[in-house]
Structure formats: C-alpha cells, structure tokens
C-alpha cells in the first residue's frame, strides 16, 4: 500500500498544523522588503494561516467553499492557501496575468465565494467583473497601496481579515482544532485550473491524499534538510511550483525565498543560492544563453579556459551517462576544471550550492541537460501534469537516459495505450474536473489517467514523450510528425526563444519563430546591422539569415520529410499577458495557428 501519510498525518490541514507547531521559531520563508530579506517563522506562518481561516469562517465560510487567490508569489498567498485548507475550504489560484473576463470565468466556474487580490491591479479586475459573479461574497486585498481613500462594502484589507480571525479565535477557543479535523483524506483540497489551449480552462480537483502522496516523496529529486534554501518564482497557480514551494516544504522544512519579480530571478538566485532549484526549460535555456553570450565576449584566455573546462566536464558527464565511472585521472582533471572554471560559472548563476535541480512542465533539449551536467549540476528531467498532482515520472539518480523523462515514480504505474498515449495509475491521480463529469469520464478510464501525451516506454521503464496527442502533425503526404521534438531543437539556439512547427494537412513543414529580443539585438549590433524597433530587427536580412542558419542546423538532424522548408518570425515581443502565450511563456499552438493564419498561408502560397 502506498504511503499517504506524512509524520502520521493524513490530510494537508493536519500536517500543516503539526509542522507549524513542531518547527516553532525556525524559518519557513523569506520575503525581500525594501531590499532586505525578512524571515517568517513556522510559528508565524501557522498563526497567520489560522487567522485567515478563522476570519473567513467569521465571514461565513462553510466547508468546501472555494477561495480564489490572484497574486504573485508572496507569504500572504501561503497564509491564505493553508488557512483555507485548515478550515475545510478549497483554494484555487488565478494567474495574475489573466484578463478580467478570464478571471470572471474561473470565479464563476469554481463558484468562488472569497477572492484574494494581491493589489490594486488585481482588485480592479475583480471589481470589473463582480457584477457578473453572483456567488462572490467578499474580496480581500493583500497590498492596500494606493487604496487609502477606497471604501467598498464588499472589499476588505487583508490585515482586517487577520484581526477578525484573531478575535474569532479568542471568542471560540478550540474551534480551529475542530475545523482542522473536518477534511477526510479523500476530500477535495485544491482546484487547479489548467490553461485551456483548446476550449475554456478546466478545474482539476486534487484531494488531500493526492497531495500527501506527492509530499511523501518530496525527497525524490534530492534530500533536503531544514535550513536548505529554495527560490520561489514560477506561478503558484501551477501545480509544479505549488508542490515544490508550498507542499514539499511541509515535509522537508526547507526555507522558501520569494523572488522579487520574474525580472530579478537571476539576482535573487545568486543571493539565495538554493539547495534545490526547479525551473521550466525556458529558464534553463536563458541561463545557458547568458553564459554562451558572455563567453563569446570574453577575452581569448577566458574562452580557452571555458572551452577546456566544459570539454573535461562533458567527458565526465558522458561517462556518467554511459553508466561508467570516469578514470581517476579524469576525475582529478575534473576537480581542477571545477576549481578553476566551472565553479565560477555555477557561482555566476547562483547554482553552486544546488545539490539537485529539476526541469519539467515543458520539453527540453537533451543537449541542454548535458551542458548542465558538464558543469557538475545534477539536473533531472521530471514529467507530470496537473491531473496527477505534479510528479509522474522522474530521472532516477543511478541511471540517466537523456531524451527520456525517466521512470515511473514509486508506487505508481505507467502504461502506453495501443494508440500510443501515456497512461498513469496510482494515488496521485486526481478526482476529476470540477463540475464536469463528461470530461472526467474521458480522462480517467478504469482508474487510468489518460495524459494526452504520446510516448514510448523502453524495457527498463524509461518513458520518452514524443508529443501532445492533439499536436501531432500529419502532413498532406500522410507522414506523422511530432513537432515538439523539432521545436525543442530550435529552442536550444540562444537566438530562438520559442517556435511553432506547422504542417498539418500541408505539403511540407514550416515554422513560426519567436526570437529572443536581447540576444538577437546584440547579434545585430555586433555586426552593425541597422534596426530601429523589434519589427525592423526581425526584417533585417542578417537576422533572417541567422534564423535560417539555426533552422538549417536543426534540419540536418531531421529525416528528409521532416525538414522545415520555410519560416516566418513573429514580429512582436510577446508578454505573459498576450493570449499567444501560456502563463509559463509557451506559445499556444492552436491560438498561434489561428492568429497568424495569414502569415502561415503566405508561406504555403508563396513557396
């Protein structure tokens, strides 16, 4: 039987109460305030979460009421999350980049009664749509800056809620402990809305058991101790970040540090120097590009030293990949390379203390993982989805097969359906989609979760994902092509931040490319290529040739039918607010194909 208790506790509510008491004054999290990292102890974390929970109860929260949080990562997010779960409520995260009508959809679909807004900006979104949200009872605001003169019967500052909770606690001693006991392990704990690339977003229901099962294996990537640091910057609405930054620390006791913003991640990373770092491929690609570009500008002895050290590192990494132990001479040489060069590279990224790193949530080029391994960073690819509460497979430490996402995590099963779809079974499989039995029935069949991903599994149980089921391209010639493999190769270029391969029902493959504004601008500047704004940069012959060259490089690695014959650049800098991108900055294939239809058609009529 799979382990679904942690420290003898069988629900998230009980586990949180337990660890907050046990750990007392030890540091649970840090937030930078006016340039200084300020610590929050587990005792304060527990106390504030309790006040949030009781404050909500005082305002009429009933068990299984839904509480939505629209905020970037911050301590208040966690107080609200744990507070709500502690009193039997259900938490749901909303992306801060969502437009008002998306917020409205999710609030209504989830039946949200209480809404937490980070600040004025998020408050405006809900105020704009609240007339269409009849179920909404109260709105709370974390940061009241700029709202001094603002009065509204439905809106309350977060501080006032905490006071309310504290009073309720005094007037009803023991009430909180009784509420912590309400939830059963199989009960719904959180809702996670999956970004709907096709159709509206769906609310995945995750139970206490799902979450505890994942927490129980918190040490799977690397064993963490209390006092170890983590950096939290990916959206908490995403199950991966939620697991890594909120749930897993309940077991490990590691300290979570909140990045000031997505732009300061490289700086914050150097300050925090985490023991465990989880990031999406886009971040890993960016770090790599930064080092690659810096080395290009370095003096020749610097370049020489870097080239030599990476060479040594690569040979050690290759030995490890082949399952061999490198020779003593090689190990000594590696020590020297690490001492002279590689350690400095790791320090410049803030990864010199990282005992473990993981990449997931999107496909990554194997070359990139190898580069990090050459640096001496233990990077493991993980795979999973919202519907299985995060981790489904991971690269085992003892045997690494690049290009695969590793093997099924303990106590779960993976199977490939006759159609090639990856199926999952285990205590991590979710309860279903909120108020959507039809989609639930399509997704969970006989206890097997249908992931929608296509892949293969080798004799050792290593899973290789080829693509999303619905993304597979069938060319006019009837050839099946898996676009994401090609796209990953393209993204490995420092000049390409994302690409969408097109070719369904078409004679040949083409692609839309989103270039990296920084690196390409630098490229143009170095070569005296005149440009003004981003669109004119994209149109210069040199940039077109540069990207054509990058595509040619990838083409060489592909089979004949699969080569990309032509491409176009997306002549706009896209941000997370744009509908073309998911909140994790991936291009949405379906949306992009529709929006850029004219551009795409032109590639096929012109050629």
């Amino acid at each position: 039987m799979a382990v679904t208790t942690v420290y003898g506790q069988d629900t998230v509510a009980k586990l949180f109460r337990h660890v907050a008491r046990e750990r007392g004054e030890r540091v649970a999290m840090r937030e930078k305030h006016l340039g200084i990292w300020r610590a929050v102890s587990w005792r304060d974390y527990g106390e504030r979460a309790k006040r949030v929970g009781l404050g909500l109860v005082a305002l009429g929260l009933r068990p299984r009421d839904v509480v939505s949080i629209a905020a970037d990562n911050c301590p208040e997010w966690l107080y609200t999350d744990m507070g709500t779960i502690s009193v039997g409520g259900i938490t749901n995260g909303i992306y801060t980049t969502d437009a008002p009508r998306q917020v409205e959809y999710i609030v209504n679909d989830s039946g949200t009664r209480f809404f937490f807004a980070e600040n004025e900006e998020q408050l405006d979104k809900i105020l704009e749509s609240r007339a269409a949200c009849p179920g909404l009872a109260k709105i709370f605001v974390f940061d009241m800056d700029g709202l001094h003169g603002f009065q509204d019967p439905q809106v309350m500052p977060f501080e006032a809620l905490l006071d309310l909770g504290a009073r309720y606690d005094v007037e009803h001693p023991g009430a909180f402990d009784a509420m912590v006991e309400i939830a059963r392990p199989e009960d719904l704990a959180i809702l996670v809305y999956t970004s709907g690339t096709t159709g509206p977003p769906k609310g995945a229901m995750l139970s206490h058991r799902n979450i505890l099962f994942q927490i129980a294996y918190a040490d799977y990537i690397t064993a963490l101790r209390e006092g170890d640091q983590q950096l939290s910057f990916l959206p908490l609405c995403h199950i991966a970040e939620r697991t890594v930054s909120v749930f897993n620390p309940l077991k490990t006791g590691a300290t979570v540090n909140f990045a000031e913003s997505i732009d300061t991640v490289p700086d914050n990373l150097r300050e925090v120097a985490p023991a465990l770092f989880f990031a999406v491929p886009r971040i890993w690609e960016k770090f790599y590009s930064a080092v690659a570009l810096r080395m290009r500008d370095a003096t020749w002895p610097g370049r020489l030293a870097y080239g030599w050290a990476i060479g040594v590192g690569t040979r050690v990494a290759e030995a490890r990949l082949a399952g061999r132990r490198p020779s003593l001479a090689r190990r000594l040489l590696y020590r020297l390379a690490d001492f002279l060069v590689l350690d400095n590279v790791k320090r410049s990224m803030g990864l010199h203390r990282a005992r473990g790193t993981a990449t997931g949530a999107a496909p990554i080029a194997p070359e990139l993982i190898k580069w990090y391994m050459a640096l001496g960073i233990d990077m493991r690819e993980v795979y999973g989805q919202t519907e299985n509460c995060g981790l489904a497979t991971a690269m085992p430490p003892e045997r690494i097969k690049l290009g695969t996402v590793g093997i099924a995590r303990p106590d779960t099963e993976v199977r490939i359906s006759p159609q090639g779809e990856i199926l999952l079974k285990g205590p991590h499989v979710f309860l279903g989609y909120y108020k959507n039995p039809q989609k639930t029935a399509e997704t969970i069949v006989d206890g097997w979760l249908h992931t929608g991903d296509v892949g293969v599994m080798d004799a050792d149980g290593f899973v290789r994902i080829t693509d999303r089921m619905r993304d597979i391209i069938i060319t006019a010639g009837g050839k099946n092509v898996t676009p994401s493999e090609i796209e990953n190769q393209l993204k490995f270029s420092p000049y390409i931040s994302d690409a969408v391969v097109i070719g369904d029902q078409r004679k040949f493959l083409s692609c839309l490319v989103m270039i990296d504004p920084e690196t390409v601008a630098q490229f143009a500047q170095e070569r005296n290529v005149p440009f003004t704004n981003f669109a004119s940069l994209c149109r210069t012959k040199e940039v077109q040739d540069l990207i054509a060259g990058e595509i040619e490089r990838v083409n060489k690695q592909l089979a004949r039918v699969e080569t990309i014959k032509t491409f176009r650049l997306i002549e706009q800098i896209l941000t997370a607010e744009d509908e073309e991108l998911t909140p994790t900055m991936k291009l949405k294939r379906a949306f992009v194909s529709k929006k850029y239809k004219d551009v795409i058609d032109a590639m096929y009529t012109g050629a």
């Binding site: 405006d124 704009e128 601008a521 500047q525 005296n528 003004t532 704004n533 004119s536 800098i573």
Partner: protein, 257 residues
C-alpha cells in the same frame, strides 16, 4: 521627401563605462521635423551631442548630406550646416542679445547676408529686437529659449538640433515657440531634429517620431499614428483609461506595438 538628410546607423555612445546609446538607427528626411521622445536618461541628448560632434561615438555612423561626420569636431559640423540648440539654452549671459546672435554667425564670412538674417530672426522673435542691447542673462526663460533658437538660426543651418525647447517654460510660451519652430521649418526649409519630453506638443508639430527607452529605439511611426498608440497615450501623453473605481495607480506593461 527624397533622400534622408541625416542618417544615423548603429550608434553606440558611452559615458565612461556606461553605454548611453545602445545601437540606435534612424533617419531624418530633408525639410522634415523628426522627433525623438524619451524619459529622463533615455539617451536623447546624447544622440544630439553625438550628431553635433560634442561627443564621439564608440561605434556607428552619422551621415549628413551624403558625408560621414561622426567624430568630427563640433565647429566643422556647424560649418557643414548643423546647428545645435542645447538643453538649457547655454547663452552667454554677459553679452548682449545682439552679440549672442552674432556669435551664432561666427562661422560665416558673408557679412551683409548676416545682417539680413539678423532682421529675419527679429521677424520671427520681435521681442528680441526690443531687447537687442540688453544682457542675455536678464532675459526671461522663454526669451532665452528664443535667443538660443535664433542664435542657431544665425548660422544659416540646413538642419537644427533642438534639445527640449519646452524645458521650464509656461504652456502658452511652449505653444508659441513651437509654432515658430514649425514656421521656420516651413518658410526657411530648415530640417529639424527635435528631442522632447513634452510628447504632446512634439507629436503635434513633428512629422515622424521615434521613441527611445534606455538607449534603444522601441517604436517609430508617423506622429499621427503614434498619437493613437496605447503605450504612447498612457506613458507619454498621460491619458489613462480609468478603472471601475475611477482612479488607477498601477501601470500597464509597455509592449510598444
């Protein structure tokens, strides 16, 4: 409008180790008014200084009337037909208004034409004629700005570089001065490169505009079209769509499209 009179390509200019202009390219057609908008520290003045030869670029070319002029001494640039009206006017406070104006004609050898031009300048700014013998330091801010523009005009330039002519002036005066700039451009055929923080007036006077942010051009278009852009409206014209609450403090993200 024909071939551009001034073409700047890939300009990089440093203040010591700090890169103030990070690769800027733009062009100014003959007889046009082109404006460069940007916040404090965006690098607007640096561009003008680099064009007029006060600063030397690390990289890039400045082509004026078919001739590369980057790194040339300022006096040579002036002789070629570029007059720089610096930010903060920079007149000679202890010289009279007339003497200041004559300083502008310092590079010229055609004496009687200079006299005629003096009258021309007085025609544009009659107030300067009345104050011809006063010390320039005694003029009001608006008058000083007029003097600075007039002094530049005295060199009979093909092109004027105007660095924030609206700085520190009352709105009515700003309007007046800009009307005269437009007239000079129209009547004398002087090409104008205008750097401004007052986006509203600059966009109404100029034909074409560039937006500069931390040393890079992020947007360019005809001024009429720039006036319609969301980012220009919010960040340069101060026009905000008000929220449901009637006020709004938070800013949208700039996307420059």
């Amino acid at each position: 409008m024909g071939d551009p009179l001034l073409t700047v390509t890939n300009l990089e200019t440093y203040y010591g180790p700090i890169m103030a202009i990070r690769g800027v390219s733009f062009s100014v057609p003959e007889r046009a008014i082109v404006t460069i908008l940007g916040a404090n520290g965006a690098g607007k003045s640096t561009i003008l200084k680099t064009v007029s030869g006060v600063m030397d670029p690390q990289k890039g070319t400045v082509t004026f009337a078919g001739r590369e002029i980057q790194g040339m001494d300022p006096d040579k640039v002036t002789r070629l037909g570029i007059s720089h009206v610096p930010e903060g006017r920079e007149m000679f406070p202890f010289l009279s208004v007339r003497e200041n104006l004559m300083m502008g004609a310092y590079t010229r050898r055609d004496g009687d034409r200079v006299k005629a031009d003096l009258e021309l300048v007085y025609g544009y700014f009659p107030i300067l004629k009345g104050r011809a013998d006063q010390r320039a330091g005694q003029l009001s801010g608006g008058e000083q700005q007029m003097l600075a523009i007039s002094r530049a005009l005295m060199a009979r330039p093909r092109m004027m570089l105007l660095d924030e002519p609206s700085l520190g002036l009352a709105p009515r005066l700003v309007k007046e001065i800009f009307e005269i700039i437009a007239r000079i451009n129209r009547e004398q055929g002087v090409t104008v490169l205008l750097v401004e923080q007052n986006a509203n007036i600059a966009l109404h006077v100029a034909d074409y505009g560039y937006v500069l942010e931390v040393g890079r051009i992020v947007m360019e278009d005809a001024c009429a079209r720039l006036l319609e852009k969301e980012d220009i409206k919010e960040f340069y014209l101060g026009i905000k769509e008000s929220s449901v609450r009637g006020t709004r403090r938070w800013k949208r993200k700039k996307t420059w499209r």
